[in-house]
């Protein structure tokens, strides 16, 4: 049994390929069924997000299965095989495990450390589980991936620093003001970036929004979205008196907030601090505003610069995360090794039980006068002898396989003439293992 990963992501394929291959959420289930109907695929999970389409599957014949999945991905979306092939990657075994752990921990994301990917992987797993796509191996694999992701998030600071312009603005605002919820935000203009920043502030708890715009109806429509109050642009000076955080995002060719306006506003606000977020190009706020006491002005380049620096800090944390991932991959490997030895253990036990049972029958036939009580005692005796005899070798078998030693299991099979090659009855004992290891 081997774990196989076939897929594309934002590094290997341009968006026009990714969007053709992407699978709408509603169709993932049906797609999965088709995948599982491929002859060599035994378990499968399909992950489809805007940056990646990946199939994690389990097969007896990994090479055949990977070829089949590659062909499948191209066919059903109507992409000719040779057009898709250069973008597809295939990983097997430990490397496939490591890839999944990295993806779940957001080490492979376009924005390093972004938190959404884990939720998307969880969804993909849930869909596969409900469609019967996962059994022992993928169940365990995905649970371990979620565990790894959690460790990375709590033990490194990979998600700690803001890496977008909007979230950087919110982080800075929270270093100027204590309670963002009590602050008033003034949105000047109708830029997309400005609204995104306002959205982030809304998420951080801000409730009081005011919107100033040259076109009053635009102001009204933006204000409605944020539950705010609209105002015409010529009332800007009055609006400044009320605003703690000003998001400037107009298309005006000249600054619309001058140093004098800011100074006057600060004076009548009794110097309560003002935070100007100027995301407009050309700039809306005179740079001199930053030299006023209690006024803090950031333009788009300042914010971008900080985001970039934070991203570099995340990259430094990513190195630590990779080490954690390797640890988790190793742990998963150890678990798999115990899984491989399981069929031997089961067979060994059933062989012994069988002998005990037939000998018990013979013994009971020779003493027909034995009552219920005596029968029970004899049964227990036979069962206990088997259990006690098998306990040390089984413990040793498990231990050796955890350490990667497969010779002991092989020797055991030879010694006790366990004829089958170990695959027989595997699904049965896998479900046993799953029960004991379930989350």
């Amino acid at each position: 049994m081997e774990i196989i990963l076939v897929g594309i992501n934002h590094r290997t394929a341009p968006v026009d390929v990714r969007e053709r291959l992407a699978c709408p959420t509603t169709e993932v289930g049906a797609e999965l069924k088709r995948l599982l109907s491929l002859s060599d695929v035994e378990e499968a999970v399909l992950v489809s997000t805007c940056n990646r389409v990946e199939v994690y599957c389990v097969s007896e014949k990994p090479l055949e299965a990977s070829v089949a999945v590659r062909a499948f991905l191209g066919q059903h979306r109507g992409i000719p095989g040779d057009a898709l092939d250069p973008h597809l990657y295939t990983y097997m075994g430990t490397e496939a495990v490591r890839r999944l752990f990295r993806v779940s921990s957001s080490l492979d994301s376009m924005v390093l450390g972004e938190p959404q990917i884990l939720g998307q992987i969880k969804d993909a797993y849930r869909v596969a589980a409900t469609h019967g796509g996962t059994q022992t191996l993928l169940n365990k694999l995905f649970h371990r991936a979620f565990q790894a992701a959690k460790r990375v998030r709590t033990e490194t600071r990979i998600g700690a620093y803001a890496v977008s312009v909007a979230s950087t603005a919110v982080e800075l605002a929270s270093k100027i003001f204590t309670e963002l919820a009590d602050r008033t935000v003034l949105i000047v203009g109708a830029g997309e970036m400005g609204e995104l920043t306002a959205q982030h502030l809304l998420g951080a708890g801000v409730t009081k929004f005011r919107v100033a715009n040259r076109t009053f109806s635009t102001a009204e429509s933006i204000a409605r979205r944020f539950g705010g109050v609209p105002a015409p642009l010529d009332k800007l000076a009055d609006e400044l008196l009320l605003a703690d955080i000003i998001i400037a995002t107009t298309g005006a060719p000249e600054p619309i907030i001058t140093r004098e306006m800011a100074r006057a506003a600060l004076k009548s606000r009794k110097n309560r601090p003002m935070f100007f977020i100027d995301i407009a190009v050309p700039r809306d706020v005179e740079p001199g505003v930053n030299r006023l006491d209690n006024a803090f002005l950031y333009d788009i380049d300042d914010l971008q610069g900080i985001s970039d620096r934070n991203l570099r800090e995340r990259e430094a944390e990513a190195a630590r995360a990779e080490a954690l991932i390797l640890e988790e991959v190793e742990k998963f490997g150890a678990w798999r090794a115990t899984l491989e030895v399981a069929p031997t253990i089961i067979e060994l036990r059933s062989r012994f039980e069988k002998v005990a049972k037939s000998e018990l029958q013979k013994a009971l036939q020779s003493v027909p006068e034995a009552g219920e009580k005596e029968k029970k005692a004899l049964e227990l005796l036979a069962h206990n002898i088997v259990g006690k005899l098998l306990h040390p070798p089984i413990t040793m078998l498990k231990k050796c396989s955890e350490n990667g030693d497969r010779d002991v299991a092989r020797a055991c099979r030879t010694l006790f003439c366990l004829e089958s090659d170990g695959n027989e009855g595997e699904s049965e004992d896998e479900s046993d293992a799953e029960e004991s290891d379930d989350y």
Partner: protein, 271 residues
């Protein structure tokens, strides 16, 4: 003060300082909590130490420089523990911890001169005067500390280069509020301290004023803080300007506290 007794205060204080510095550099909340717990332990021992001295000496133990430094260290910790109970941030502890420990070590390293028992220091008003004056000074230390943090934070934000302090220090608004509360409490305490000091002097010597350098410096300090309060409350200054004034004010306090006593030994020569 027995050697062992001093160690029961000194060891927790030094450990607290180390934990607070670690908390600040590694941003570890648990280090801050452990530091706070140790500070409380040290403070309890410190209080016991002062009560012990009171009993053996038969007077309030704040007569000479050694005793004053020891008591100022106690005032700083007492005020910090009160403030910390009311605010979730331990940032001020990074400033107060080393300061209080430093004063305590200074107190331990000098010896008290022999002094004949003086009836003037046995009156009930004397400890009241001392307590108000010292807590006032401690509050001004807090105002100074939060102002230093404010200036660091403000510079980072103004220069658009958020350095290592940005994430470690509280928000500007919070630091400004700390400064405001410290100034208010300090000013109130110092006023009461001067008032009760005058009353005490009247009781023991029959006059309200005695012009020694310490009294003069205290009045100047009081006037300076009166001006700071005025600019803050009436003129509407806040933030950077108030922070700078608060730091200047605290320098005056240190000068009054240590400097004046050293220049001319009057009856305040101990302070």
């Amino acid at each position: 003060m027995s050697h062992t007794f001093i160690m029961t205060v000194l060891v927790p204080y030094v450990a607290t300082t180390a934990l607070y510095l670690y908390y600040f550099s590694a941003q570890s909340r648990s280090a801050e909590k452990a530091g706070l717990a140790l500070l409380a332990v040290g403070f309890t021992a410190h209080t016991a130490l002062l009560i012990g001295s009171y009993i053996t000496l038969g007077r309030f133990p704040v007569i000479d420089l050694k005793e004053s430094l020891c008591f100022f260290s106690w005032s700083l910790v007492a005020l910090y523990l009160i403030v910390r109970l009311r605010t979730p941030s331990g940032a001020l502890g990074v400033f107060v911890g080393p300061l209080a420990t430093g004063f305590f070590i200074a107190a331990c390293s000098i010896t008290s001169p022999d002094r004949a028992p003086d009836a003037r220091f046995m009156t009930a008003l004397f400890p009241v005067h001392i307590l108000f004056a010292f807590l006032g000074h401690a509050a001004f230390a807090f105002a100074g500390g939060s102002s230093i943090m404010y200036l660091l934070q403000e510079r980072g934000l103004k220069e658009h280069r958020p350095g290592p302090f940005l994430r470690r220090l509280p928000s500007l608004q919070q630091l400004d509020a700390m400064n405001y509360h410290s100034l208010t409490v300090g000013f109130f305490m110092l006023s009461l301290g001067i008032f009760t000091g005058a009353l005490w002097l009247h009781n023991v010597e029959g006059r309200f004023l005695k012009w020694d350098p310490k009294v003069l410096a205290s009045v100047v300090t009081w006037l300076l803080y009166a001006v700071i309060m005025h600019t803050r409350l009436i003129v509407g200054w806040r933030g950077r300007r108030t922070a700078i004034l608060s730091i200047i004010g605290f320098c005056c306090v240190l000068l009054t506290f240590l400097g004046m006593g050293l220049i001319k030994p009057g009856f305040h020569n101990f302070l």
